[in-house]
């Protein structure tokens, strides 16, 4: 008992004040990119060709955050002349198209479906489904339950049974072998229900795009309400998405 108290005192209170107070991430973290549209087209083309995820459209000068894994190669290759990644982690969108961006994103809070805010604003229960995720998205979602983020204080919880859930939070590119289990879980959630795609995998296939063994597009299987980009999304990206979209 004394040991518990001693440890408790040593640990102190570590919970972040976000979103009441801003939080800054280390400068190497790569969030929302800034795109220089006046960059030399030849350099843009070279960056687009070298992008492992083929996420850059050199003609429209846009980057698809749904494909991007935020590896930072284009920033290094262009020495910041074409793309620089900011530390802005607020990147989720309510539509797939909005993720194909020139560096600006619509305000998520204003684009969320109003009835979701009314229904789930005070209490949101989610069932997480890993559909061939690499466990990075899963791990950084799980982290929201640790004292630093303390998701429950916002009335948001991850629950065991889909019957208790208001929606599903899907990670992974949806392998052939998980498709049926994903659909069964989705069907078991009572309507009205939300679908959240977390990470580049369910949005675009992520690192596994083009594989015959995965779908790579959750939205084509069940309509997605909320898209959270990243590989994996930073826990704060997910937190911001849930709070803006539902609160």
């Amino acid at each position: 008992m004394l040991k518990i108290i001693k440890n408790r005192m040593e640990q102190g209170c570590k919970t972040t004040r976000y979103p009441k107070e801003p939080i800054s991430l280390y400068k190497r973290y790569r969030g929302l990119p800034e795109i220089n549209r006046n960059c030399d087209p030849a350099l843009i083309k070279r960056c687009a060709e070298a992008c492992p995820q083929d996420a850059i459209d050199p003609v429209a000068i846009r980057i698809d955050l749904g494909r991007c894994t935020f590896c930072g190669q284009c920033e290094m290759q262009s020495e910041g002349k074409f793309i620089t990644f900011t530390q802005n982690f607020e990147m989720a969108t309510a539509s797939r198209e909005d993720l194909i961006t020139d560096g600006t994103l619509p305000d998520l809070a204003r684009h969320s479906k109003k009835h979701f805010k009314k229904l789930f604003g005070r209490s949101l229960q989610l069932r997480q489904v890993s559909a061939a995720g690499c466990n990075a998205c899963e791990a950084d979602t799980n982290v929201l339950n640790t004292p630093f983020f303390d998701l429950s204080r916002f009335g948001i919880d991850f629950v065991a049974s889909p019957r208790h859930a208001d929606g599903i939070h899907v990670t992974g590119p949806v392998s052939k072998n998980m498709r049926a289990a994903l659909l069964t879980t989705f069907e078991a959630v009572p309507a009205p229900k939300v679908v959240i795609a977390s990470g580049s995998c369910p949005i675009s296939g992520g690192p596994f795009y083009g594989s015959d063994e995965v779908s790579g597009d959750l939205n084509s299987i069940i309509p997605v309400d909320l898209f959270i980009p990243g590989c994996p999304p930073h826990p704060l990206t997910t937190l911001h998405a849930l709070l803006s979209y539902f609160k």
């Binding site: 440890n7 995720g133 791990a139 289990a181 596994f208």
Partner: protein, 502 residues
């Protein structure tokens, strides 16, 4: 063993130098090594000149052996004589439609059509949902009942299916059937543009992004004749140890959560994040994705990053010591950890367990010591003291390895040595070559094996996650245990679903 080729970790070998033995000699040589305290690092099939070929890499002591042979569509199974080949032969059957005759446990591994479109060994029609023709082991009798769990589990966790055959509360047998996470990694790797390789390898298992991508990059460096400067070696080793600490700390937290001791669960959960954040300090990603690239690392470790790492270690070391003491000195915790889920040493040896699961059962193998690369040859090894093979031993090994890795990082961070960041290195792979790379990831031995064709293109890319060895260990740990102890046993192993399913 004279007819086998001795090779080195991460050394390019000409394919012509791999001895191609008659099958009977090949089988006997492999069994001889496996029977004399040898273990399988790689055992897989590939196609060459219209024929099925097998390739094996075995380790015995500090020596690595390689050998190959040609087989038809079936051969007498090695598993029938030695259990260590069990999962490898099932995988060969699934990937290439080659039947190991008299295999005692021949079932699908990941549920996919074989690569050549040949007749399926398991007579599966892959338009049907997983698991197809999968004969679960069943126990019959009046008091026997079966518990089926998954693929979707109660928590934020990857999918898999578990079948418990129980008598009352006691588990007679646990069968673990996986495959849900299969993404086709091995078929993708040789066919995609080379720029995609590191991104895919970082996602073989996201919690082992550093381990798998390091193992991949070392193989590409060997075949592409790239050298890695000392500064990059230091960053790579620090990243591998940070990954180890983060995962071990997280698992100790999960273990305390599973015995309903919440304070350490909360503290470890938060502390794990501190180490993920150090990976973010190194490369901007909490899992180290984007850090390692063929030829070096993509980010410099400057004075600022060194100081941040050292400061954080100084801050968290006493906290970790105190929370570990809180967990391991609570008698209610020990009552649950001690003598639960025991895999005795002899059983672990028969199965060929690796990593902390093996070390907790007294198999001391640590690839950082036996086949060291980069900075590891001159770093001190860890000695684990508790080898009872139970949950307590597996948890204690983690505790010791956390402290050991903190020491390693402190030593490494103080090593000077600049590195030139690499991200788009141009290189050609040597033609008709073969390389095997091995690293001690946080779960244990990771190995990648690459074969190139006469044009220097990747012909076969074989990935092995330590979980491939250890899932059977988890199944065995449940024998005659209470079913309520499953979460505890499971977390003490914490195996990768996607690393296994590929």
């Amino acid at each position: 063993m004279d007819n086998l080729l001795q090779i080195k970790n991460g050394e390019k070998v000409s394919r012509a130098d791999i001895p191609q033995l008659p099958f009977a000699d090949f089988r006997q040589a492999l069994l001889d090594i496996a029977d004399q305290d040898g273990y399988i690092v790689q055992f897989f099939a590939y196609q060459a000149e219209q024929a099925n070929r097998l390739l094996a890499v075995l380790r015995q002591g500090k020596t690595l052996y390689a050998a190959g042979c040609e087989v038809g569509d079936s051969y007498p199974s090695l598993t029938a004589a030695n259990e260590k080949f069990h999962m490898f032969e099932r995988e060969i059957a699934e990937q290439h439609g080659i039947r190991p005759e008299n295999h005692p446990w021949l079932k699908m591994v990941r549920y996919h059509q074989n690569y050549q479109g040949k007749a399926d060994v398991f007579a599966n029609d892959y338009r049907q949902e997983i698991p197809g023709n999968y004969p679960y082991f069943q126990v019959a009798g009046e008091d026997i009942h079966e518990v089926a769990v998954g693929p979707v589990h109660a928590g934020i966790i990857e999918p898999g299916h578990f079948r418990f055959q129980c008598i009352g509360e006691t588990v007679l047998h646990l069968e673990i059937q996986l495959g849900y996470q299969h993404r086709g990694v091995e078929t993708m790797l040789p066919t995609v543009p080379r720029k995609r390789l590191p991104v895919i390898c970082e996602s073989i298992a996201g919690d082992t992004a550093i381990g798998h991508n390091l193992t991949s990059c070392q193989a590409l460096e060997a075949l592409g004749d790239l050298t890695v400067d000392q500064g990059a070696q230091v960053v790579r080793a620090i990243a591998l140890e940070l990954e180890r600490i983060a995962n071990h700390v997280g698992d100790l937290g999960a273990l305390s959560g599973d015995v309903a001791f919440n304070p350490p669960a909360a503290y470890f959960g938060r502390l794990r994040g501190e180490f993920l954040n150090l990976l973010q300090v190194l490369c901007g990603n909490r899992f180290g994705k984007g850090l390692i690239r063929a030829g070096g690392v993509a980010f410099r470790m400057g004075e600022e990053q060194r100081r941040l790492i050292l400061d954080k270690i100084n801050e968290t070391r006493p906290e970790l010591e105190h929370v570990c003491d809180l967990l391991f000195s609570a008698h209610t915790v020990l009552a649950r950890f001690d003598a639960t889920g025991t895999v005795p040493r002899e059983r672990a040896r028969e199965l060929g367990l690796v990593g902390y699961a093996g070390r907790a059962s007294g198999l001391g193998y640590d690839a950082r010591v036996t086949f060291p690369t980069g900075c590891y040859p001159d770093l001190p090894p860890n000695q684990n003291e508790m080898t009872n093979g139970d949950v307590n031993s597996r948890a204690t090994v983690r505790r010791e390895e956390i402290m050991h890795s903190l020491d390693l990082i402190e030593t490494l961070v103080r090593r000077q040595g600049e590195t030139e960041p690499v991200f788009l290195k141009d290189y050609q792979l040597a033609p008709s070559s073969f390389v095997v790379t091995i690293n001690e990831g946080w779960r244990g031995e990771i190995s990648h094996c690459l074969l190139t064709d006469d044009q220097g293109r990747l012909e076969r890319y074989k990935v092995k996650d330590p979980s491939f060895h250890n899932w059977t260990g988890l199944a065995m740990s449940l024998r005659d245990e209470e079913i309520s102890d499953f979460p505890l046993c499971n977390k003490s192993f914490n195996l990768s679903y996607c690393g296994f399913d590929l």
